[in-house]
């Protein structure tokens, strides 16, 4: 196994939330991400899945230092990014890029495509000549499947899928080593989703990219990712390589997630055993005691209320946080 390029250790992101009135004002932490650790290898795609509000996006932004983590380490190529000053971090940013969910709102409507893609180039290398930049812009536009002649157009003249290609081109033009994709396809329709996913996969192979692919769409994750991490309420529930996770989910939450994916065969769909979770995600300001999933877990026992499960690492590197996974 290759050495990891990114090591995240015990990452915590807490947002202070003011509550109460003027006299009894208190600040409570909202624990968006609470003690998550993982590695990403060179050329690997790590999927991060979980329902809305479980801290997926916050995790991605904390890795890129767009949100300052409260505690923990983000070690990139042996260097802890959390310790860097704003300016040193700014210079590191060419290695780590981000692709957003909503393609149109992630592009400045007042700039042309070429200006949008050129911006990161000038930001990281002020000495770059215009010709050099133009060559690279044309090359990257071709690589993501856009015609270089479209360079002087504006984002609102493109379709959603094309806008996402522009956003990917902007992220790729610096030749980064890691891209955090924050639900890059959930705003697109299915046929375009497939194009974008295949584009990401191709780019990943060609350039040896590492991806952190945040999504709530398990079928997309299954198609693209090598390993999958399941988040719930800011904590890791289970992490395993794709095949073993989908073949035999061990954590009750993963089981519920996977059984919620519709099967495109009505006969099978009708007979499948679905684990349907009741209730909503608890408030991250006031998480349940013990195991955070216990309020909705069909297998919860008194020990789940008392103690938070430790993360166990299995032989094949699979990690799981559950008291009862052996008996399920």
């Amino acid at each position: 196994m290759s050495t990891p390029v990114l090591k995240v250790e015990n990452l915590k992101v807490h947002f202070p939330i003011k509550s109460g009135g003027f006299l009894n004002a208190r600040t409570l932490p909202l624990k968006a991400v609470d003690g998550v650790s993982f590695n990403v290898d060179a050329g690997e795609c790590l999927g991060v899945v979980g329902e809305s509000g479980c801290g997926k996006s916050t995790l991605g932004r904390a890795v890129l230092q767009l949100i300052k983590p409260t505690a923990g380490k983000v070690v990139w190529m042996g260097e802890n990014l959390c310790d860097l000053s704003h300016e040193t971090m700014r210079q590191k940013r060419s290695d780590l890029q981000l692709v957003f969910q909503d393609p149109l709102s992630s592009l400045n409507p007042r700039l042309t495509v070429a200006e949008i893609i050129r911006e990161p180039l000038y930001a990281t290398d002020a000495s770059m000549t215009r010709e050099e930049a133009d060559t690279r812009i044309a090359a990257i536009m071709t690589a993501v499947g856009l015609l270089p002649e479209m360079r002087n157009r504006y984002p609102h003249e493109f379709s959603g899928g094309q806008c996402q290609r522009i956003a990917i081109a902007r992220a790729m033009v610096l030749r980064p080593k890691l891209i955090v994709c924050d639900e890059p396809v959930s705003a697109l329709d299915v046929s375009i989703q497939a194009q974008i996913i295949n584009l990401l996969r191709r780019l990943q192979k060609e350039y040896g990219l590492s991806l952190i692919f945040i999504s709530h769409d398990l079928s997309v994750v299954r198609h693209l990712c090598h390993r999958v991490m399941v988040l719930y309420l800011g904590r890791m529930m289970e992490m395993a390589d794709r095949d073993s996770l989908f073949a035999k989910p061990l954590h009750p939450y993963t089981q519920a997630l996977i059984s919620a994916v519709p099967i495109p065969d009505p006969a099978k769909e009708r007979t499948k055993e679905a684990v349907i979770l009741s209730g909503d995600l608890p408030s991250p300001m006031n998480p349940p005691s013990g195991c955070v999933f216990r309020t909705r877990c069909p297998k919860a026992t008194p020990v789940c209320i008392k103690d938070a499960p430790a993360i166990e690492t299995l032989d094949n590197g699979r990690q799981i946080a559950c008291h009862h996974w052996r008996t399920l």
């Binding site: 932004r61 709102s105 700039l111 911006e119 479209m150 157009r153 504006y154």
Partner: protein, 303 residues
Amino acid sequence: MTLFQAQSESQLQLMDAAARLKGRSLWQDAAERFSKNKAAMGGVIVLGLIAIMSIVGPMISPYTLEDLSWESIGIAPTMENSHWFGTDDTGRDMWVLTWMGARVSLTIGVMTTFIALLIGVAYGATAGYVGGRTDNLMMRFVDVLYALPLLFFIIILVTVFGRNIYLVFVAIGCVEWLTMARIVRGQTLSVKRKEYIEAALASGVRTNTIIRRHVIPNVIGPVIVYVTLLVPTNILVESYLSFLGLGVQEPLTSWGVLISRGANALETAPWLLLIPATFLAITMFCFNFIGDGLRDALDPKDR
């Protein structure tokens, strides 16, 4: 038939390629919508005419600003003697006075707004973008200045530095930027959370560049509208300063000065009030129409 098809197809491709080369920016779209707005375009044309006349007008007339004459005091508008707008109580030609007044009033309106724009946009965008404690401090400072009465401020400036027209520019500009800063800050707060700002941050773009390239172009729409409404406001402010004797100094004149003197002679020589007041009103209407047109043209909801 097939040949014809092939030809038209290749032509289509050519046209398509040509269309691809140049995109249409949001500004171009807005300009087109604006040019279709009759009231706004009328405003632009009339305002342009007034601006041209303020330059050319005094040259057409045989009289100058300093020509006083005992024989021609208080002549009503007439085609004789080239006193097209009549004369005032010192025998000066109203045509010349009106257009010279237009010069001063328009200049003051535009210059003060420009000063307010510069300070307000820079200040508001910085406060809004940086946010947090800086924002709080900067905006409380604006609140403090708001509490200071404009007139009081200008009287202090005039007493300290003496009466001079540039001082009026600075004084009005320095007061009017406050509202501009508030508008820009509010807009910046909403733009700041947009994903393209985060994308720029993630690409390592410097804060100054983000404010200049991403924040300001996207907040400028409502600001432009406010600017066109601020110009007439500032012309009015100048006119009441002049009315109180704090504005421009004789023999130089402005619409405000003319109106204040015309008001005194309303019963005997109504044209002294009516002529400058009409032009002031027309100018106000023009700016307001332009402002409305710009707001409609720049409003993204219309798209």
